[in-house]
Assembly symmetry: C3
Homo-oligomer: 363 residues x 3
């Protein structure tokens, strides 16, 4: 049995195989229409996320299965103080596979460790949201015929945007890819990912605050929202915000086949006037997300005709209860009787990370 | 592809055909049990309306289809500020047909203009709610064997009750129909509908504030609720309210086969003691609503065996961005990048109406 | 047509038959996979109870049926003031069977009296919750091979815990059963049930406040939560609470095959460390609940292959509108036009009970 916590849990081969299945589903939906007959997906959404939830539900119905679940925690037993662990243990008796969304970082790992059925992380706080990345990857694949050699621009809030981080991790595994990070100073792409992934592997990248200047080079432009709340200085926000709104004018110098992506919902960072531009792929992206979720459900239920993966979870030396996770959004702050658990990143320097939320501490 | 925004979008022939299909569904449900196999209905309820939602869901399941959706906007992306346009564009990738309820007048038109699948207006603010009128019409048809020559009493809040307005529009197309409007002075049936529809076509009507006096003439008595909030003078409310509560005593002089309708939910405007009276048809009305929604879904999905309608939307000369809609419940007040759009009613007099919510302005 | 309001509505034979069906479903799920094809269950949850709702929904899907409903009353017409009676009358037009949860005592009886389809009480306030008891009984049956001669310990809040009360009523019908009531003084098992059920039938029982002392005797240990709010004296709560938390240490003297049950959700009254103990059966209990709900749905829809029960409701002499129910959680306090209804328990002594919530009054 396998789960999906983080996009990096999937090998490149597994990703390729998911994409292949998704494309086959798109072309031959009738072949899959009864694939999950008599199976049930539980959508456990401890916080609302309509688009993601509806995408999973549509995916399961198109595979011939059924869906149970809840769409926010006020209507769940969580309001009575039930733990994530108990919830998934109970729901394992009601469903064959679980898609869980939770506001706390690391909640998905608690689910995986306690469920008796496969678990898909449908977003755990600001931590991971791998099925969004699957949607992004299929969109890029379909638009460009593959991943090699692409120049990928990422624009907006690159500091906090988890979808942007995951996309960089995932795309870095393909040959010849390079990145252009477009953001205000305050919201630059995190240095530790640049160090860990790009510098280490010699992957070219560029940082700029100028969207218009960057556009002509790009094969892909991945837009994200800049939230007012992220700025200490609101004057700075006012000064900057318009320069990160994509308009028809800004696209004049773009390649004719550049694809525009966005994880949605958008507020105003892409002008509605662009929706009819053939380069706008953000609605298509949601369709691709449905296909990838279908492929993923098939894979995790062992219904994709592939031998089941026997890969083990990464075995890491873990230190219990010596440190306390400083991230107040970590699931360890609320889940009952959950031990503090850290793994060593650099023992000499005393650098450790929380097993649940990956928050780094230095001792 | 067709949508249903307003009951008047349907021609008399189309209405007759829906009624015929609904009656066939009632008599031969097994013929339709797989009609929508592998199809999905999305119920997008931006405000709660349990009865309408459950009716749509039951309808879709009885046609062999599936349902996805949400039941209030706190669990939808709308809470994050997403536009109606974006929501329906995304959901078009997940479902084959949409039933949408929204608190803003005119929201349904935004949905129709952006969806790639048929849209059914399940209520847009105080504007339209055509599937309620379909339920009303089938109930009248089944009780009376047709529409001709009926005397229809409408009682209660005739000023604000959108179901009452729609019913008058719809019934006015049938020969020999006449209306009795029964309401307090404050809540009289709108003059503009009387002028537009009844006076213009020479359809007889009567206005009265006396329910008991009116009852003996009626073939149909359509009750609605009088809301306390509608009265400026609460003494007036207290004085009047009991006279618009239907009780067994008030029915003594009614015809033996008069049918009592109500859009539900009722609070106390029809005494529970009447529920067992054979003339009480308001629960049957909800069953009829389900059959009509089934017939409508079949029609809009092109599954009713009829050639698809090629009728075009009314083409109207539209004036963009010159006026601003004064209705603060209009969708133009909240939807992003939506242009103000008015059509001319009387150019000489300078009378225009908002394309979305039909609010009239004079310039 | 039959309903399930209270576990005591079921005869011992009917219980045995439900258990037999549930075991057959467990062993041969495929036999039942289409049993409810084209049937719809309505889950009307006027207050949230995720586990119970998901269990019902999973049950219906595993029988091949469909589900409509709502998960809390803010998204239902109840928010507009609709009565339980009207809601179930309408929903009877949309579904073949209803499972209803409601915060008011006695709401389930209102539903039964107004629905045109079978109604299952999925919890009415603090009154009854019979499907929880069905889950408990199947768990005991599967663990012990039957009910005779068992020593059943009940621990925690025995005063307010409705599941504990129902279990005592239900188990008292089996030969040789005896009970150990383990609770703080404030939360002792109600005297009137001891008198009515145990003393009257000569069933042995023991009352103690010492969990550790009681454990060695027990075949079943049924844990419940002690809520802080139940204590007038919070010092008393602090002093006591740990003695009613089940830990591995407290189990040292327990029988090797004692089964631990809990209605869930737990907060901390059973240590997570016990979850892996083979005696911990509280998660299995939720699985058993699903099987029993499947058996119950089949029975109430007449699909269990048994002749339908023709037993009448208990006919009781009822006194209308003479007394007023003093229980402010009784459905008679909110439901429109509902008459006060009492039955006599002891006419000489002037003891009566409310037909809806069974609250006792003395006149």
């Amino acid at each position: 049995m396998r789960n999906l916590l983080d996009i990096m849990d999937l090998s490149t081969d597994e990703l390729d195989s998911l994409i292949k299945t998704a494309l086959d589903i798109k072309d031959h939906p009738e072949k899959y229409a009864d694939a999950c007959k008599r199976k049930k997906l539980a959508t456990l959404f401890f916080e609302p996320s309509t688009r993601t939830r509806l995408s999973f539900e549509a995916a399961m119905y198109e595979l011939g299965g059924n869906v149970i679940g809840f769409s926010e925690s006020s209507s769940s037993s969580a309001a009575k103080g039930e733990s994530v662990a108990d919830t998934v243990k109970v729901v394992s008796n009601y469903a064959d596979i679980i898609a869980m969304r939770h506001p706390k970082d690391g909640a998905a790992l608690v689910a995986v460790r306690n469920a008796n059925v496969p678990v898909i992380n449908a977003g755990d706080g600001g931590h991971h949201h791998p099925t969004q990345t699957l949607a992004d990857l299929l969109t890029i694949y379909r638009e460009k015929g593959g991943f090699r050699g692409l120049t990928i621009g990422l624009c907006g809030d690159l500091k906090y945007g988890r979808t942007v981080h995951s996309l960089v991790y995932a795309m870095s595994r393909y040959e010849g890819v390079n990145f252009v990070f477009i953001s205000p100073e305050e919201l630059r792409f995190p240095r530790y990912i640049i160090d860990d992934v790009l510098e280490k592997n010699g992957i070219p990248y560029l940082e700029t605050s100028d969207l218009e200047e960057a556009i002509p080079k790009l094969d892909i432009l991945y837009m994200t929202r800049i939230q007012r709340e992220r700025f200490l200085d609101l004057n700075e926000y006012e000064r900057l915000k318009d320069s990160y709104i994509l308009t028809p004018e800004k696209l004049i110098s773009a390649k004719k086949d550049m694809a525009i992506l966005h994880p949605l919902p958008r507020v105003n960072e892409i002008s509605v006037a662009l929706d009819k531009d053939p380069r706008a792929k953000y609605f298509e992206q949601t369709l691709n997300g449905k296909y990838m979720r279908m492929a993923l459900i098939l894979k995790l239920l062992g219904l994709d005709g592939k031998p089941s993966d026997e890969t083990e979870d990464t075995v890491r030396d873990v230190i219990y209860d010596r440190f306390r996770c400083p991230n107040h959004r970590c699931i360890t702050t609320t889940e009952q009787e959950l031990r503090q658990e850290f793994y060593s990143v650099d023992e000499e320097q005393g650098v450790y990370r929380c097993v649940y939320c990956d928050t780094e501490i230095r001792k």
